[in-house]
Amino acid sequence: MSISTERLPAGERSLTERFVGRAARWPWWLLVIALVGVLIAWNALTSELYSAIFSRLTLGIGVTIFTTLVAYSLALVIGLLAGLGRVSGNPVVFNIATLYVQVIRGVPILVQLLVIAFVIVPVLIDGVNNLGALVAPLIGEPNFLTQTRPQDVPFLTRCVIALAIAYGGFQAETFRAGIQSISKGQMEAARSLGMSYVQAMRYIILPQAIRRVLPPLGNDFIAMLKDSSLVSVLGVRDITQEARLYAAASFRYMETYVSLAFFYLAMTILLSLGVRWLENRLNSHGRGQG
């Protein structure tokens, strides 16, 4: 029997070939991360230093998760509104939304954090106090409107607001792209049935658009988790800040920061697996195109 074909059926391929072919498809990267994780976890259990670092970092995990969740939720609302503004035919709404998006995209997030925390929040509080002084004769002094001080707004709150505003700008563009990816005929069909613009958006365009932008929004959530580390710059005690404090006090920079990086990596990998699962689910249940 002579074999002349170049590609052999699976059964006739050599063992090495089959092994290499299968091995190449393995997620080796995940294995490496898992091994490092096991190593670090082993250290956390056996070494006093690592277990001290771990319990210290754990103190900040609540703040990290809180900041991420709240800022991301606010960013979704801001982004949806600004994204609707970006596709609006009303020139006033369109220009306000575009101005916001352009400013946000042109300033680094760290700088936005500083500006919002140290400029915008104090200015807003001044405004509230001035307003309070105006209406004081009506509602009577003293009242909270005249007596709010900048230090009454904790830095955690300022950071959450700043991250929400920053990410809202990016999500606005995600929502805009999603809305514009829905074919024009959908809006026309809805309008031809007598629906108003708002009804057509709510019942026809947005349900389809949001489905399409779920994967990029999931990635934004991961990015938000990572960027929440910026709040440490303002002294908010998230895991990064706890690590900085511990390292500065103990001089154990290497062990502390490796552990810190691993904390973020563990969380982001879990989340990205979640996002991938969501994408697969949407693809397999996806029902046609608009």
Binding site: G185, Q186, L193, Q289
Partner: protein, 255 residues
């Protein structure tokens, strides 16, 4: 308040009156000074070469295209730019598109129910009952719970017709309803349209289906380069066209 143009005729048999309609796109006149009256309960078929402005004319009737100038009255109501009026008029004017434009995230039944609920404010039960009646009328009640992607082109177009009919419109506009269909599915859609025409619905149909024009039309309008070249009953227009351009077009299409 600006001057509201009075209906040009007191003719109660007119359902749609179009006067001196002009629609320009970037300086090009897609519709060039067209006047047309569509009688109540009659079927008007608009034919003509592609780019002749027939779809644009149709889309002006429910303001999917806002006219550059000219006036349109639908059942005696003057179409203005006022959004509230437009939504009210659109609810009375059903439209069927070349690309069906079903809502892909909703089932056939939900497609037919949605506008009844949010525009007509019908109850869930009432909307469902009417939707099922209309789906039965177009011959696919068994597909009520299918999503558009699970339906053939002909079935999708029939759901689209049911969706428009469920609003109880006074007028139905068809914009090349069979042009995107495979040949074997054209008949099932035309049959539904024929039945609708016999039931006395006022219809304006843009189509290349000359057989439908012959069988169903009360009036055939031939358009070329944004203008109405000739119009008349199908017997006259197809057998004895007056204009050379009409003859040239028909000879190409009828062979």
């Amino acid at each position: 308040m600006s001057m509201v143009a009075a209906p040009p005729t007191g003719d109660p048999s007119a359902m749609i009156i179009i006067k001196n309609l002009v629609k320009e796109f970037h300086g090009l006149r897609a519709v060039d000074d067209v006047s047309l009256t569509v009688a109540r309960g009659k079927v008007t078929v608009i034919i003509g070469p592609s780019g002749s402005g027939k779809s644009t004319l149709l889309r002006c009737i429910n303001h999917l295209e806002v006219p550059t100038s000219g006036d349109i009255w639908v059942d005696g109501i003057h179409l203005t730019h006022h959004a509230k009026d437009i939504n009210a008029v659109r609810a009375e004017v059903g439209m069927v598109f070349q690309q069906f434009n079903l809502f892909p995230h909703l089932t056939a039944l939900q497609n037919v129910m949605l506008a009844q609920r949010v525009v007509r404010k019908r109850s869930e039960a009432e909307a469902r009952e009417i939707a099922m009646q209309q789906l039965a009328r177009v011959g696919i009640p068994e597909k009520a719970n299918a999503y558009p992607a699970q339906l053939s082109g002909g079935q999708q177009q029939r759901v689209a017709i049911a969706r428009a009919l469920a609003m109880n419109p006074k007028i139905m506009l068809f914009d090349e309803p069979t042009s995107a269909l495979d040949p074997e599915m054209i008949k099932e859609v035309l049959d539904v349209m024929l039945e609708l025409a016999r039931s006395g619905m006022t219809m304006v149909v843009v189509t290349h289906e000359m057989g439908f024009a012959r069988n169903a039309a009360d009036e055939v309008v031939f358009m070329d380069r944004g203008r109405i070249v000739e119009q008349g009953p199908p017997d006259v227009l197809f057998r004895q066209p007056r204009e050379a351009r009409t003859r040239a077009f028909l000879s190409q299409i009828l062979r």
